[in-house]
Amino acid sequence: MIEIKNISKTFGDRLVVDDVSFAFEQGKTNLIIGESGSGKTTIMKMMVGLHEINGGEILYDGKNFPILPVKDKQEVRKQIGMLFQGGALFDSQTLEENIRFPLDMFTSMSEEEKRDRVNFCLDKVQLTNRNNLYPGELSGGMKKRAALARAISNNPKYLFCDEPNSGLDPKTSIVIDNLIQSLTHEFNITTIVITHDMNSVVEIGENVLYIYKGKPWWKGNGKDILHTTNPELLDFVFASGFMKEVFQAVNKK
């Protein structure tokens, strides 16, 4: 479980994240949703220590991460898998090498075991037999999936995904969502997913935090979100007329 307590962030004199608290539960998919530019990525980067926080606490199973000594921080980080919004695959390495990388660094697996693990991860993200491609040879959505494969390769205890299914078609998108959720349940991972996709919210949102202009605006379950009365959230959820019509049609039945 990861708890954030009253974290804030300013860039220059712009307050980007304003006093956010939330409990990201273990074994559940916790979502952060919100408009573009509302501060979601910033929150995630603060949680993993890529941005310093301006006040507040970030507790990894009780340990206050920002003030841990470097060595202990690295120990926590070895248990983190993270999918960056832009993928952040290592350009100079093939997919196989990318996914093996955490295994090479931190495990004493045999070559055989590593290869199996790589193939297993590639299978999971539907990139079977693409081992020897370089990131430059992948499409945007394939990069996302490859990055997810790398994030899960070393069995993380904490999984961070920044928009895992942006740029994917609806069908692949659902596959990835379901993959994240099933891994979370199977290995009891604390998973945090940033998404804009309402479909994901409703499907896999076990804990949802809605951020509005850097503030925590609404918390709840993905299924409850459709019945919200919060005006900003309503606006966000039903931004497209299509969603509104579908929802009304379903309600009438």
């Binding site: 890529l50 690295q74 980080r77 952040a88 931190f106």
Partner: protein
């Protein structure tokens, strides 16, 4: 003030670079890769430049040495001293600062702006050590060999062109390159090379590592890397020369 900021940050980075590696085997693999990249990759350009510069030095010297009291072996001697003391260790390293320096800064810089360095950090890896240490060690290891090749080819170029243009004969030149040889000058030259290898790789890595922004900034970092490594090569060339010659 800005100078002190950069100096401070540079030394903090260097300290991180030299902290204990996570996994030796991975680092060794990286070092071999970098030796290939830095060393073998630079061999063609260095060979060509050294051969022709050696030749030109000989021809120019022959043109100047018209007085009958200058012995003919002076030609070989002059070529050897120029190559050994200054051309190969300093000028070739300046050229390498351009080639290797911009390469390193843009490689690390683009890893920075595409969050690949953040990805390393998140995995719990000391990104500075992982990316920079292999480059520094590889350069310190391989540059002396490159420079030795450069020295040899320079003198060889002098020999070939000296004879081709009729400036001297083979016996005189070979006598010249063996005359008055003092081994401490080689210590001097290779002290310089090792120092420059460290300067080029560490300074270029520094500029790459702290790139902020986008592709434009990667270009700027790469320019800064070349400019500052060149300046520091000249400064340290002066300091080391003072130490050895006084």
């Amino acid at each position: 003030m800005k100078l002190f900021f950069h100096l401070g940050r540079y030394f903090i980075l260097i300290k991180r670079v030299f902290s204990k590696p996570e996994k030796l085997s991975v680092y060794l693999k990286q070092i071999v890769h970098e030796i290939d990249n830095i060393g073998i990759g630079s061999l063609p350009i260095i060979s060509i430049i050294s051969f022709f510069m050696g030749g030109v030095i000989t021809i120019q010297a022959a043109f100047g040495f018209t007085s009958p009291i200058i012995p003919l072996y002076a030609l070989g001697f002059t070529t050897r001293e120029s190559m050994l003391l200054e051309f190969s260790p300093t000028i070739v390293c300046l050229i390498l600062a351009g080639k290797i320096g911009s390469n390193i800064a843009s490689e690390i810089g683009s890893m920075r702006i595409t969050e690949q360095i953040d990805a390393l950090e998140i995995m719990g890896i000391n990104s500075a050590g992982y990316l920079i240490l292999p480059k520094i060690l590889a350069a310190i290891f391989i540059l002396p060999f490159l420079i030795a090749i450069s020295m040899f080819l320079g003198i060889f170029g002098g020999y070939v062109m000296g004879i081709a243009t009729g400036a001297c004969n083979s016996y005189e030149f070979i006598f010249g390159i063996q005359a008055f040889f003092e081994p401490w000058k080689l210590y001097y030259s290779f002290t310089k090379v090792i120092t420059f290898a460290f300067l080029i790789t560490s300074i270029s890595s520094y500029f790459g590592y702290y790139t902020q922004g986008g592709a434009l900034e990667v270009g700027k970092s790469s320019t800064s890397a070349v400019v500052y490594s060149s300046i520091l090569i000249l400064v340290f060339n002066f300091i080391i020369t003072q130490l050895f010659f006084t």
